[in-house]
């Protein structure tokens, strides 16, 4: 079973196996290229030797023999290197969490919990709106109260002014004012009676 190493791919942006394949193919190409170059050089040298009995086919056979051996060792060694690469270099240890996934452990949250959270948020939003509407209503009543209180104070002021009128006349309230009036009118009556008697 292939381990897709998806967590590593999430970190590196490529799968480690692909990376190794890329390295393997590149190394293998170099091995073939260098072998080809060796063969070319040998053939060229042989061309320069007069009466040489070694044919290109023979040289090719030598090359294939050496390359076959080298390729075997190459694959074996590369297999070991790949194993180490995938274990020690291109691997995210199982106990390691990538930075972008930190909150998976700092705030582990199931789908149910997130739904509850969203419900709570909606309820809070409703509650907040209710509180705002309450605030509007309360402010409206406060305004109303101010007007009513102003009117009531106005009425009280009216009564005060009435009393003040009385006070201006030397009495400190309306009742006394009235009594004062009555006394005055009696005095006037007495004066009038006196005047009438005198005149008879």
């Amino acid at each position: 079973s292939v381990d897709p190493m998806t967590y590593e791919a999430q970190f590196f942006g490529f799968t480690p196996q692909t990376c190794m394949l890329r390295i393997y193919i590149a190394f293998q190409d170099y091995l073939f290229e260098v072998m080809q170059a060796v063969e070319q050089v040998i053939l060229k040298k042989l061309d320069g030797i007069p009466g040489c009995e070694i044919s290109p086919v023979q040289i090719r056979k030598c090359t294939e023999k050496f390359l076959c051996f080298m390729k075997g060792r190459f694959d074996n060694l590369f297999g070991k290197m790949e194993e180490l690469f995938l274990q020690l270099i291109l691997r995210i240890p199982p106990h390691i969490l990538l930075p972008e996934d930190k909150c998976q452990e700092s705030h582990p949250c199931s789908e149910e919990e997130i739904q509850l959270l969203q419900q709570e948020i909606e309820q809070l939003q409703e509650k907040y709106k209710t509180e705002l509407r309450t605030r509007e209503a309360l402010l409206a009543e406060l305004e109303e109260q101010k007007i009513v209180q102003a009117k009531l104070r106005q009425t009280l002021t009216l009564f005060d002014e009435l009393e003040n009128v009385g006070r201006d006349r030397g009495t400190n309230d309306f009742r006394e004012g009235l009594v004062f009036l009555v006394q005055n009118s009696r005095k006037l009556q007495n004066i009038r009676d006196n005047v009438e008697r005198e005149s008879k």
Binding site: V2, P4, M5, T6, Y7, A9, Q10, F11, G13, F14, T15, Q17, T18, E100, Q125
Partner: protein, 32 residues
């Protein structure tokens, strides 16, 4: 298979951040 893995894991790396950006924008808009 390799391409699928790389495509999927790239999404795993990038999409949460993109989604979060939208979520944060939404939350800010709701606040406003």
């Amino acid at each position: 298979f390799d391409e699928i893995i790389v495509d999927l894991t790239t999404k795993r790396k990038q999409y949460p951040r993109k989604i979060l950006e939208c979520v944060i924008k939404t939350i800010k808009a709701q606040h406003e």
